[in-house]
Structure formats: structure tokens, C-alpha cells
Amino acid sequence: MLPARQRIGAYHTSVDGKLGRSLEQIYPVRHRLVGENFVQAMASAILEHGVSRSPGLGDYGAAFPAFLSTFRPVQSLAYLTDVARLEWLWHRAFNAPDQPRLNLEALARVPPEHWDRLVFRLPAGAALIASDYPIHRIWEINTIPTPSHDVIDLDQGGIRILVWGDGHSTRLDLPSETGWQLLQAFASGVPFGELCRQDFDHSGTTMAELLPVWVQCGWLRDFVLQEEVDP
């Protein structure tokens, strides 16, 4: 008969295994970048510090990028924390609730005197991430089969990414400078009237031209009038 200590230990081993596998699934790129042994060491460290507040195993690991930024053994890999942030956002977008396309008929019914108060919303689970490193290339090269001669230049400059999904696929899009500014404004709930008055560099493109394109590509998924925005 197994001693009680070993029986309790079996639960400990099982929990470690489940959470470790969960981290591997959410952060496959990080896993490939640092290797199995390093991942085991990191998993053990985060398991000692992490507290899960959700019944969903998939929710575990939200704090991992922040943990990584303080984990001394990886401080020399400056891009690793940003890659982990990207992976977490991808995981969130991948599991975000389905959402229909923006209701154009409802939008057309908004009287012109209320247009100033229109607040357009990004898809559920969408997020913006900026990095000093080409983390989208690091992500792609480690998740999508590519020729082995692909080389990533870590000094190629910063990158800005919109991570989003439409219920069928999850995407990493690279908006223009103007697009980035507008996406940030939409993500912050800035109403349409204020957006039109702000001094964005539209590069010759008007807001009236940009909006239909963004609705069409799925970046704008919903709208409310300003008073209806949740506090």
C-alpha cells in the first residue's frame, strides 16, 4: 500500500502536469524558443507563484508574461516577454465569443444629430500590442512551416500588431501608423465626433473612406451611442 505522503504527492504531480501542459499549449512559441528543460524550470517557477482564479484551465497563464518579465534567467532574451504577451493575446482572440458583423441597418437608423456620439468597437477579444522586436515574425516562423533559411533581424525596428479573430480564424494584422492611432482610439471608446476632430494623419484618406474598409475587413464589429457605453 502506498504511503499517504506519496498519495498526496500524486495530486501534486497531476496538477503540475496539467498546468504545465496548459502553459505549453498557450505558449508554443516560447516553448520552441527556449527548449524543454528551460520550459520545465519556468513552469515550476510560475506554478509556485501563480494562483488560478478561474475554473477554466485555459485562463491560467494570463499572468505569465508579467512573470516572465521578472524571471531573471530569461532577462538576456529581451524579446521573450513580448512574444509571450503576443501568444496570450492570440490565445484570448482564438477563444473569444462569436460576434456577427456590424449591423449596417442599425447604423443607418442612427439620426445624424447622434453621429458624434457613435462609439465603434473592435471585435471581442481583439487587442493591440507594440514591441521593439519583430515578434510577429518570431511567432510566424515558429508556428507556420517556413524555409529553414529564414532569418529574423531583431534590429529591424519596432512593430505594432492588431490581434483579433472572427470566430473562424485568428489573425495578426499590421496596421499603418494612421490605422494604429485610430485603432487605439476605437479601443479606448473615443466617440466618432471626437475622432473626426482629432488631428490624425490620414495620409490623404478621409474617415468616410476608412470606416467602410474597416467594417468590411471586420476590424469594427459593433457600435453603441456614447451614453450606452459601460462605465
Partner: protein, 274 residues
């Protein structure tokens, strides 16, 4: 909800098999989806929705934490209810376990003391969940590695009385009974005989691992001979109850699971075992 549209031997639905299922639509009578994997949405729920169009589905979860003294997680229950509305599963099930304490989740199915107090507590929580979901649910037996001193009931007595008080059904994991009987030295047939047959609506089959003189329920290998033998006994006791092949770690190709399911079905229907 005593009747269901599932029959025969189904498979646990796992992400590595989505592509095979969605391209070949294999001859599998039903799938059991892990509800916790579909509470968000996105691509997993999209896949499940497509599979649901062709197959009956049951939902099996680990997050209701019936044995915990934490309040029922209403946000989780609301998401589960929405998933049930969308998928319209034949059964909804969870475990006789607790997975949280003080709002901290440890993602492991922890066992309960089989006391009168625990029985009252769990039965009341199951009833509340059933009220929200508007249906009777199935409760699955665990393979606890520890037992508590001072229990008022044997495990099978506890389960039987729980099903009666909560007016719920039972999901009998045959592998867990086998593992428990070995680890805690009791007669597994006594376990089967004691359960109310009319309450047992589904069987689970899975593999375990032996380490020294102890068995561990790991769901990572084929069903072993001893479990197949006990399954035969369970079929005599529970007759046409549907069964499921569960495989959660080191998941093999779909064909391997289908071979296991074919064996379980052959035993059910009295045909030669492949």
C-alpha cells in the same frame, strides 16, 4: 430528461482530432465534449458547432466544484448554461469533487469525505445547478487516492443516496471503480451491485498506470484487461447504457480510439471482439 438520443460507444472529442472528424465524418455514434474548452467561443466552439450538426454531443465538465464550500461560481454556471442552450447536449455531467477553495482553483478533482454533512451540501448544490440548467445532470465517480477518516458512507452508498436526494443521474467511470477497488481493497462488483441501475446513464472507459502497488488514473493509454472485465460486468448490470472511450494525455490517432470503441461496442452487442 431520463431518455437520451445517444446509443453505443462514443469518443471523447479532443482538439487533435478536429481535422480528421471534420474531413472524414467517421462512423462514431456520439462525442463527449469537455465543456470547459468551449465556454469562451472562437474556433473551438465553431468546430464543436459543426460537429454537433452531424453527431449527438454530451457535455462533460470539471468546474462546477460541487464539493467546495465556496459559493457556486455563477459566472461559470451562466457560461455553461449558454453552452448547453447552444449545443443541446444529450447529457451534461461533472464530478463528485471539489476543485476550488477560497476562490483559488487547483485544477484537480479532489475527493470528499463521505459524510452526511457532505451529502447534504453536494445534493443541494446539484439541485441548484439543475434548476439553472433546467435539466437533470450526471455525476461521475472519482478515483480518489486518499480516503477520509470518519466517513459515514462507503463511496457507492454515498453516490446512490446522492442521486436519490439530488434527483440526478450517475456517470459510472468503470476504470475509476477498478482503480479504487485495487487501491482501497474492496470488491468492485459490490460497488456495481449497490448503484441504482435506473440512475446510471453513461459509462466511461479509460486507461490507468501501475506504479508499484498502486494504480493511477491517467487517461493516457488503452483500456486494460481488468477494466474490460469489469465493463462486461457493468454491461450485465446496466445493459444498454452508452459508453465512452476517454483519452486525455498522449492522445493517439483517431483510429486508435475507434478501435477501442469498436471493442467496447462488440462487448456491448455480444459480437466477436475485434
Amino acid at each position: 430528461m431520463a431518455d437520451s438520443n445517444i446509443q453505443g460507444v462514443g469518443l471523447g472529442l479532443r482538439p487533435p482530432h478536429y481535422a480528421d472528424i471534420l474531413s472524414s465524418w467517421p462512423a462514431i455514434p456520439w462525442f463527449e465534449a469537455l465543456s470547459d474548452n468551449y465556454l469562451g467561443g472562437g474556433l473551438p466552439l465553431h468546430h464543436l458547432t459543426r460537429i454537433r450538426e452531424r453527431y449527438p454531443i454530451t457535455l462533460h465538465g470539471v468546474g462546477l466544484s460541487f464539493g467546495s464550500v465556496d459559493p457556486l461560481n455563477q459566472a461559470y454556471l451562466k457560461r455553461l448554461n449558454a453552452l448547453v442552450d447552444r449545443v443541446e447536449p444529450s447529457f451534461v455531467s461533472d464530478h463528485l469533487a471539489w476543485v476550488s477553495q477560497g476562490g483559488r482553483y487547483f485544477h484537480e478533482l479532489a475527493p470528499l469525505p463521505y459524510t452526511e454533512e457532505a451529502l447534504e451540501h453536494v445534493a443541494e448544490r446539484i439541485q441548484r445547478v439543475q434548476d439553472v440548467l433546467g435539466r437533470q445532470i450526471l455525476i461521475e465517480n472519482l478515483s480518489p487516492y486518499v480516503r477520509f477518516a470518519g466517513s459515514d458512507y462507503l463511496e457507492w452508498e454515498f453516490l446512490s443516496e446522492l442521486a436519490r436526494r439530488a434527483d440526478c443521474f450517475l456517470l459510472l467511470d468503470v476504470n475509476n471503480v477498478f482503480v479504487n477497488a485495487f487501491n482501497h481493497d474492496f470488491d468492485p462488483l459490490a460497488y456495481l451491485d449497490a448503484l441504482p441501475a435506473e440512475r446510471v446513464k453513461e459509462l466511461h472507459l479509460a486507461g490507468h498506470e501501475e506504479e508499484g502497488s498502486f494504480l493511477f488514473d491517467i487517461h493516457g493509454r488503452a483500456v486494460q484487461d481488468g477494466v474490460w472485465a469489469l465493463y462486461r460486468q457493468a454491461l450485465q448490470r446496466f445493459e444498454q447504457v452508452p459508453a465512452l472511450i476517454e483519452w486525455d494525455t498522449d492522445i493517439p490517432a483517431l483510429e486508435v480510439l475507434m478501435t477501442e470503441a469498436a471493442k467496447a461496442e462488440a462487448l456491448r452487442s455480444g459480437r466477436p471482439v475485434p
